[in-house]
Subunit: 269 residues, 2 copies
């Protein structure tokens, strides 16, 4: 197997002819990646322990630690202490990947319009794709999410909770996708909107129309998916997105978000 991880250290295309001399931790972390792929290691497998790595790569403890920290930051490993402990290969948590991506967009000044331009085409595709393989178990999960906003909110706090729950409906949809790319992208877009909802106060003003129409659309969507009609699901979702986009456009133009934390926690504003 010639599979290799993607290298992440300093770019080789610098201003001067400063050749890319990756520092030692980077070299070691890349070597560990190669070791992982060459041995065909899978999530759950354990890497050699620190002293062994020190010997294997002839590097100091500090260097090995920095290399492991790089892999940990990339989400590739997690470390545990105690007997039998060490660095374990992990399937990168989606939250972690979301956080990484979110950082990338920090200086890009995303607007709500940018987000909805993509959602408007991805979510309908997702709806159509899900129709092929969703079962009653999944529909039950979706419907249980919807009960949170099947009624007008009594308080401003409930209003906020309902907005989040509405977004979680879409998060669930994404998780159910058989296409990992579609799942991640749709989930990421929702996570952008959720952070928005928490960190900023876009969803502050009451917006009964958004809730009502959202609930109605989602009901129709489940119906269409139950009926096994992908094109109906697609067009319902499309209408849902177009409507949501229009309603959201009034709220705020620029999304001034913050960096997301790599451990999944959110920081209130």
């Amino acid at each position: 197997m010639s599979a290799v991880f993607t290298r992440l250290d300093k770019s080789g295309a610098d201003s001067k002819s400063r050749r890319a001399v990756p520092n030692r931790p980077s070299v070691v972390s890349e070597a560990i990646k190669i070791m992982m792929t060459d041995k065909g290691m899978m999530p759950g497998d354990r890497l050699p322990q620190e002293p062994d790595l020190i010997r294997a790569f002839s590097a100091s403890k500090g260097t090995i630690r920095e290399a492991l920290k790089m892999l940990e930051t990339q989400g590739l490993i997690q470390t545990r202490t105690g007997p039998g402990g060490g660095a374990f290969i992990t399937d990168i948590p989606t939250d972690h990947a979301n956080a990484l991506m979110s950082n990338y967009f920090f200086f890009k000044n995303l607007s709500i319009g940018d987000i909805y331009e993509i959602r408007q085409v991805l979510e309908p595709e997702l709806a159509a794709e899900l129709t092929k393989h969703l079962g009653e178990k999944e529909f039950a999960v979706l419907e249980s999410t919807m009960v949170a906003y099947d009624h007008p909110p009594a308080t401003i706090k409930e209003e906020q909770r309902q907005r989040i729950a509405e977004l979680e409906f879409h998060e669930r949809l994404a998780e159910f996708s058989a296409n990992p790319l579609l799942a991640f992208m749709c989930g990421f877009l929702v996570s952008l909107l959720k952070d928005l909802a928490v960190c900023r106060r876009i969803y502050r003003n009451p917006n009964p129309e958004l809730r009502e129409r959202g609930y109605s659309y989602q009901g129709q969507l489940i119906e269409a998916m139950r009926a096994g009609d992908p094109e109906a699901a697609r067009s319902i979702m499309k209408a849902h997105m177009v409507a949501a986009r229009r309603l959201m456009a009034k709220q705020e133009a620029i999304v001034n978000r913050g960096f997301l934390s790599l451990n999944g926690k959110k920081r209130g504003a």
Copy 2:
């Protein structure tokens, strides 16, 4: 400004009630992120130097170094040695973000169909969006990319170069987008296909139909964009994607990719 970076350390939702006790480097790196946002620092600005950080956070040299290594791995900073050196805030390079994402999908077994399912909806949207704001300068860039494959390939090597150039056409398109999300997602999908082309040998067999139809579609696309007709551009791109998807589907089912390197270099197979 209350903007905050996304945290990336160990998850708080563990099997046991093991409360999320992030280790010191994680805490410090988060604190540095907060410092960055609180001070409204921008790419190019320099962080305090190691000794100052050691004092500021009352942590050891090793801890600070690991924290900085985390930020570097996330693409948030780069460090330089020498006088006036230190850690500098960087706009995360797209290559870096691609590599990070690519790692996420390592264990997900993406298929070509997965990639094209998304391209089929995103690329048309991109085409329509570009029509609004592309000028002659951009068209010239696109056309100069196309000359690489305006003729049948003479050798197997040229065949491969042409495939890559064809993908670079789409890469350019993505770069021109005014929507950073659209730009990244389309660029990422192409980078997946490019890695495919290099690391695996999907594009090995000659496929004259793919080149010819691709060239023709792209010519029509530029024409439509020049004419300022977004819907024409959209439908041309859609047809292009549908055709490419069909042709690619025959090639290989599963994309057995490797981890990508964080410094933008590729590793041949």
